[in-house]
């Protein structure tokens, strides 16, 4: 111990660092580009790692540790450090500042001994006194001078001997508490994981649902008979109830608005020349790209067995079959062309009016036909 004290007094850096620690010169590990023992620099050894031994906190590279301590305990290679170190004790420093590293080590040791909890004391004051005592002791250990440090060390050992049973019990309780905490954390993590999986599955479900409904819409469109209105489900309108509720709300709103309008109408003063508000265009119904033309054949029937032997390959052979094209399209077109215009008698229809366009001609002919019908009926 006394030797240690002498070391501490001598080192220039050590006066501040100090500390009373078991060692004198604590070189800042930040200047860790060179091993202080073998003078190897990081430039030459990229994987250089500095180790310390809590005995004296002198750092050296792992190569030096291996070299010096492989054959058993040896003296610290630092000049004037007479500590005997074992290879087992070496470890990498967690903190860059070795003073901090050392303080943390000491505090860990103290806390392991003074591990009473608040409920072990009768009053809060007693507990605080106890904490104060522990902190004083720790401070003495960390940065006290030689005498106070040895005193604190003795105190620590005395306390440890006196309260052995208590310490053991508290340690066990602490472990249990730790265990509980650990378990709780694990449970929380697990729950979070479950939630994530659930969310992913939901997203996938929704996606699949959307694709399915889209396909269904297309099928509906493709299969709906002519003239029949196909109701398209709007995307996101899965919740029909809310939509209906919104509708009801809207209609009631509009009803109220129209009622208010009507009441305002009664007492309204009329100003001449005031522009009428343009009424919204009346709904025209769904747009019909074909202008109401009928595509159901009336003279022939389309059926599966319409075919020509030499066209069979287009129906069956894989070289010709392709997605999106059905051979039925061809048959329906051929059949349409075979029968379209059979009942169009150009000679008569065009004779009706030279220079009239087809619609008027057909209108005239329809009119004639209608008149003829009426006469027949009468």
């Amino acid at each position: 111990m006394s030797r240690k004290a002498a070391n501490g007094a001598r080192g220039a850096t050590a006066t501040a660092a100090a500390a009373g620690g078991s060692s004198s010169a604590l070189p800042a590990i930040s200047s860790d580009d060179m091993c202080p023992v073998c003078k190897t620099i990081r430039y030459l050894n990229k994987d250089m790692e500095f180790l310390i031994n809590p005995e004296c906190y002198h750092s050296m590279c792992s190569n030096c540790v291996n070299r010096l301590f492989n054959d058993g305990p040896n003296q610290c290679p630092y000049a004037s450090c007479n500590k005997t170190l074992r290879r087992r004790g070496f470890r990498a420093a967690f903190f860059g500042d070795l003073k901090v590293e050392r303080e943390v080590d000491i505090r860990k040791r103290v806390a392991a001994v003074f591990n009473q909890a608040e409920e072990d004391f009768e009053t809060l004051r007693d507990y605080n006194n106890y904490l104060n005592m522990v902190e004083d002791l720790t401070f003495d250990l960390v940065s006290g001078d030689d005498a106070s440090r040895s005193k604190a060390e003795a105190e620590l050992q005395r306390w440890e001997a006196e309260h052995k049973a208590d310490i053991e019990r508290n340690r066990k309780a602490g472990r249990e508490a730790e265990e509980i905490t650990r378990r709780r954390l694990a449970a929380e993590r697990e729950a979070a994981r479950q939630r994530r999986i659930e969310a992913i599955r939901e997203a996938e479900d929704e996606k699949r649902e959307r694709a399915l409904s889209r396909e269904q819409e297309l099928d509906n469109l493709a299969q709906a008979a002519d003239g029949q209105r196909v109701q398209l489900k709007r995307r996101g309108q899965t919740n029909r109830a809310t939509a209906a509720a919104v509708d009801a709300l809207m209609s009631s709103n509009s009803a109220a608005a129209s009622a208010a309008m009507a009441s305002a109408d009664v007492g309204r003063l009329s100003i001449r020349g005031l522009k009428e508000k343009r009424k919204p265009a009346a709904a025209e119904g769904p747009y019909d790209a074909f202008g109401g033309m009928d595509f159901v054949p009336s003279r022939y029937k389309l059926s599966e067995d319409l075919n020509v032997p030499w066209l069979d390959k287009y129906r069956i052979a894989r070289d010709y079959v392709t997605g999106g094209y059905s051979f039925d399209e061809y048959t329906s077109r051929a059949m349409y062309e075979a029968f379209a215009g059979l009942g169009v008698f150009i000679e008569d229809e065009k004779e009706v009016g030279i220079g009239l366009d087809a619609s008027r001609v057909s209108a005239i002919s329809a009119g004639i036909a209608a008149v003829g019908d009426k006469m027949e009926l009468d």
């Binding site: 022939y300 075919n307 032997p309 379209a340 215009g341």
Partner: protein, 437 residues
């Protein structure tokens, strides 16, 4: 009205290019008359102006020069200049038919598909309904029609490739000669590029016949191939496309090939027996209201049905097909080789008309390339804005006439519009700054 017929009535083929016989004849006569009038005017004016002023040459329109140059003798210019003998309507028709056969032969020799040849032939014949053979040269327009027919049917050969197609390489045409007539042709056919052909209809008929059953496959095949031959020639070289619908033409061709099959098809289609004559049980026998209404509705439905597939319409269809068959029988496919391509016919019939045509053709329009160049220059000048001082009526009239010519609907008025630069024809066209000094 049957839905198929309603759909066919929407097509441009029906709306723009279907005529009754008398209508078609009158259109051709009008075209002929207009061509005579305009050509004689141009011929006389060029001859007279070439004596008075040499500077009025080809690229300035002849009639304009007439408007610009004072003509002291009035129409006396015609006295020194004898008008040629013009082609008659019948001669024009002969030429159109002859060149149609040439066109079909050229298309076949060039290895073009039936649809392309048929479309080209239809374009060619349509073009010469409102335009006279004397106005635009048929031996040029024929290839223009072929080239454009390719495009209309979805084949897009480059003009160089087109001219090298099979036998076409022997005709020695320059690319610009074809391209010059392209827009002209489009105008002439009133931008109706979709020609409905009976070829696919024939396949449909084959399908229906096989579905009926009980007909030997050999018989159907033989009939189909013969009918196809007829459709490839007879229907294109006659006026069938103007007077009949594709399905009627197809059935007529089929009945040429195998009368039984065609009739069976028609009888099977229009199978509804004639409704028994309604017993007049109206006012004097009071019946319960509801069934009567039902009856009326049923009657109405029956009437509708009868109008589509009844026997009375069947007879009309049969009559029409018979007429079409008659028309086709004038030009059976064999005549392509035995008649139109023989030397005697060419010597005896075609050549004299050709010689006549050489004398009476339009001096301004016989060269399509020059005509197009002149029109381009005119358009350029117009966009340039200022023409040198003088009366500008040609440009203004040209604008009006061209616009009307491009999209103006009236089939018959077009030629007259083109001619309206003639002096004193309308007060609006007289020089707004007073007459020439």
């Amino acid at each position: 009205m049957a839905s198929e017929d309603a759909r066919y009535r929407q097509s441009s083929q029906f709306r723009l290019w279907s005529f009754s016989r008398s209508e078609l004849a009158s259109l051709r006569e009008k075209a002929n008359a207009l061509a005579r009038a305009s050509i004689s005017e141009r011929l006389s004016s060029t001859s007279s102006s070439s004596t008075t002023a040499n500077k009025n040459n080809h690229d300035r329109s002849a009639s304009t020069s007439n408007a610009n140059t004072p003509d002291p003798e009035g129409s006396a210019g015609g006295a020194s200049f004898r008008l040629p003998e013009f082609l008659t309507v019948a001669e024009e028709a002969l030429m159109v038919t002859f060149y149609t056969s040439q066109l079909l032969g050229a298309g076949e020799a060039a290895g073009m598909s039936d649809e392309v040849c048929a479309t080209a032939a239809a374009f060619f014949r349509r073009f010469y309904i409102t335009n006279s053979i004397m106005t635009y040269p048929p031996q040029d327009m024929m290839f223009v029609a072929l080239f454009f027919g390719c495009k209309a049917e979805g084949h897009f050969p480059r003009i160089g490739d087109f001219l090298n197609m099979g036998a076409l390489s022997s005709i020695k045409k320059q690319p610009e000669e074809i391209l010059a007539g392209e827009f002209l042709l489009c105008q002439g056919i009133r931008f109706a590029f979709d020609v409905k052909h009976p070829f696919r209809a024939l396949i449909g008929a084959g399908m229906e016949l096989r579905r009926l059953g009980g007909i030997p496959e050999d018989r159907i095949r033989a009939a189909e191939s013969r009918a196809k031959q007829i459709l490839r020639f007879s229907s294109l070289i006659t006026d069938a496309y103007f007077h009949y619908t594709p399905s009627q033409i197809m059935l007529a061709a089929l009945s040429h090939a195998d009368r039984g099959l065609a009739e069976r098809l028609i009888h099977n289609t229009f199978h509804l027996p004639t409704a028994p004559i309604k017993v007049e049980s109206g006012a004097d026998t009071p019946v319960d209201g509801v069934p009567k209404e039902n009856n009326a509705r049923k009657d109405r439905a029956n009437e509708d049905k009868a109008a589509i597939i009844g026997q009375h319409i069947r007879d009309r269809v049969l009559g029409t097909i018979e007429a079409c068959r008659d028309m086709l029988s004038h030009e059976m496919p064999e005549r392509s080789r035995e008649h139109w391509q023989t030397k005697e016919i060419y010597q005896d019939l075609v050549l004299p008309v050709k010689k006549k045509l050489k004398k009476c053709r339009d001096p301004d329009r016989s060269n399509l390339v020059a005509l197009q160049r002149a029109r381009r220059e005119k358009a350029l000048k117009k966009s340039g804005g200022s023409e040198d001082g003088g009366p500008d009526d040609r440009a203004t009239a040209g604008t009006k006439g061209d616009d009307a010519g491009i999209f103006g609907g009236d089939l018959v008025q077009r030629d007259s519009k083109r001619r309206k630069v003639a002096p004193g024809q309308g007060p609006a066209l007289d020089d707004p700054f007073g007459g020439p000094l």
